[in-house]
């Protein structure tokens, strides 16, 4: 009757089912404008449901304007409801998502070893910290982040890098990517050109490009950005990784740091300092950030993705005072704020120095893995390679003079179950780092490293380029 077939065990009430079927019939034109609907009593009998059920369905249809019912008149279908069938929308087709491959040797860069993270302890802390949150912190608490976390990060920066920062200069973000994204918005009105290191992390580069920035690459050598090549006209900022150049590994020497600061002052531009993993330096303490040389020109970006775990989604930015108010505004209309639970847990993790101990433990562990990687390289590849940059971070940049690691080689490795990044992958001007490879090792134990290098050696031996 009326094309209505009710299903009893779907979790959807019968009245809603009736409502939906009738509504679809109206928008598809099977029920015509002005057509009379049966009374609730009649419909209830025909469908073997209670009259109340039909009444509810009619109520919904009436409240939403699908049917018109006036006292003393019959119930009729409203006008102007018919939609016909939709035309298909053309657009880019959705690419299927690549399933995660199981690599035999996975040298992906930038991955901490999550197996070593004290997850149970973290979850306990989070629970405890969340229980202690006052009820008003379950509502909106502002775009800057939890005050206690900002204080603890300031204290941590002082302990770990001797960087003296006021907590109110620190703004919590949902990770470093969001930090750069918002910094890009912050600076966009000034100009549309930005200087980046070449090579530069392709993901971060993409953030800047997607904001519409023109990109001016400046080459990098073993020590970091080559400041002699800087050209400042029309530029609003320089995005740099002075503590550990990504991906080539250099620590920027003091003279070039001073160059950057002088240059920024001369041209009235900002230095965006991305300090993504300098906690893991194996030959000494973390380097003092650029930020310690100029509090007005340097925007510092930090993250806990590498020190703790990526899914935490907590980073931060240290901003010059005159940018605070614009930042608050921007963050509010971007995604309002971080959730408070992770923030409270991290504050506790810092306060109790558990973070310091975890970093210490991981620095030792990663340092050993780096040693193992170097030993295996020497044992397997002899002296055909050299390391670029400083003993720091979670990956190694290797040069194999005379070799050529192009796309074809990378694909060959991929097929052989080896994930690695050719040195030229992150380059803007291609061709200058074809003889380099990037090997991430932080997440691999020593056994995995040895096996991986053996497989890599195999790939070196077996790979025959089509166009040599």
């Amino acid at each position: 009757m009326w094309g209505i077939e009710l299903q009893r065990k779907t979790g959807v009430t019968l009245s809603r089912q009736i409502y939906q079927i009738l509504r679809d019939q109206m928008t598809e034109g099977r029920l015509q404008p002005d057509e009379v609907l049966p009374s609730t009593r009649e419909m209830a009998q025909q469908l073997s449901v209670s009259r109340n059920t039909v009444y509810e369905a009619y109520e919904m249809l009436s409240a939403e304007g699908y049917i018109i019912s006036r006292p003393g008149s019959q119930t009729r279908v409203a006008k102007g409801l018919c939609l016909g069938k939709p035309a298909s929308v053309t657009g880019e087709s959705d690419k299927p998502v690549q399933p995660a491959q199981n690599y035999l040797a996975d040298f992906q860069t930038g991955r901490p070893d999550l197996r070593q993270f004290p997850m149970h302890l973290w979850l306990q802390l989070m629970h405890k910290a969340a229980e202690a949150l006052p009820v008003n912190q379950w509502s909106y608490t502002g775009p800057a982040g939890l005050p206690v976390l900002r204080e603890e990060i300031a204290a941590w920066l002082f302990r770990s890098r001797g960087l003296a920062i006021q907590p109110q200069d620190i703004f919590i973000t949902a990770g470093a990517t969001q930090a750069l994204n918002l910094v890009a918005d912050l600076l966009y009105s000034k100009s549309r050109e930005i200087i980046v290191e070449d090579p530069c992390h392709s993901g971060m580069l993409h953030v800047l490009q997607s904001k519409g920035f023109g990109i001016r690459p400046v080459p990098v050598d073993n020590q970091g950005i080559q400041t002699g090549f800087l050209e400042g006209k029309g530029v609003c900022a320089i995005y740099v990784t002075p503590s550990h150049q990504f991906p080539l590994g250099g620590i920027l020497p003091a003279g070039r740091r001073a160059d950057l600061i002088r240059f920024a002052r001369e041209y009235g531009l900002y230095l965006i300092e991305d300090d993504y993993d300098s906690e893991f330096r194996y030959n000494g303490s973390p380097v003092a950030p650029l930020r310690s040389m100029d509090a007005q020109r340097v925007i510092y970006i930090g993250t806990f993705s590498k020190i703790l775990f990526p899914a935490l989604r907590i980073g931060y930015v240290i901003l010059p005072h005159h940018l605070h108010s614009r930042w608050r505004h921007l963050r509010t209309y971007t995604d309002v704020q971080n959730p408070p639970f992770e923030q409270a847990a991290l504050a506790e993790f810092l306060l109790t120095r558990k973070l310091d101990r975890h970093v210490q433990k991981m620095r030792r562990l990663y340092g050993n893995r780096r040693q193992r990687l170097l030993q295996e390289l020497e044992r397997t590849f002899g002296n055909t390679w050299r390391v670029w940059g400083d003993a720091s971070g979670l990956h190694l940049a290797l040069e194999f003079p005379g070799r050529r690691f192009d796309r074809e080689f990378a694909l060959y490795c991929e097929k052989s179950g080896i994930r690695l990044t050719p040195g030229d992958f992150h380059s803007l001007r291609k061709g200058f780092h074809l003889d380099k490879l990037l090997l991430g090792y932080g997440h691999l134990d020593e056994e995995e490293i040895s096996r991986g290098i053996l497989l890599l050696y195999n790939a070196f031996s077996c790979f025959k380029p089509n166009h040599p």
Copy 2:
């Protein structure tokens, strides 16, 4: 000696203090290029510290290029380090953050009653769900959100609104603000004009404006957007709140819904449907979303900020298939993803139907509060007012014919300890809703409502406009 004063109990190692002081002296020009530094032995004696401490400081300075030390030579200050004093950067000054005022009557809109939220239960769920997360979910898990949460939201939309959605069409966001922000990025390339309801939530409007969209307002009446005023040329989307117009409260009737769909198809544009609080409808079930009428033209935005609590920072967007791949890309380069803990907890909250029960409880509670508010209005203001829109949501839009609620009145109320929103506050073309007031009541208990209305009546009586 050398202007070095060490402090023993700061938490900063002595070697780092020495390093910092020397470094500052070099960048400030007090130590000149090529100047010879004392030997580590000499310096250690003068400062009464171990030689190793000085050695560490020199190592840091050397590694970072501040000093040059060659075997058999003296240690000298590097060249090109002097920076002088920075010039001050001019820019907008940072406005002081307003301290939260304690209102005697707080009729802020859009606030759920957090006192009623089962926080303890939620935290237990979060703990349990987080413990069960496999280790790889502590790393990056992709921009779409946890699969289990997407499935549970699909099931919830079917239970609560009869909306049949594939889980893969649902993308988790950090709240509704981020959802609109990313949708704006998604559509930006198509055109720069967007139609909005007038009045329209000023925060959401701001998101669109800050993305550079030109805004075309279309007036709203008691039932929602007046589709007769639509003009489609050059427009890429229409942002609407058909389930409960914000702020005037109308539920868009079926005929106008059909108008919107036909209009979108004709001009090839998208409908952005913001369903921010339709769970709380007091005269029936939630209205069926626009999305159920067209899966290719409607982008649906949902949030849990009102149903659960704002600090959760979880919303979602339902996207037509042909926009999926661009969305993934955008979210990845915006802030990567949500943290997994809240997502896992919410999935569990949905799966165990705790959300359904919470919504049911709160709907009853808010419904009673709305009744109390209406009773108090009648008792106090007689019949000098009428309600706009449907019995739904967490606030009331009231019209007081003949009255004028301008900025002066709002300031007067603010000073009297009453927070409310004049009806014209969210208007794009000012002056059309001066006779209306918006009163949020969700977060107030019945006692607070009665007291608030009394205070409001007082304000009505005592307020004397300067320029009547």
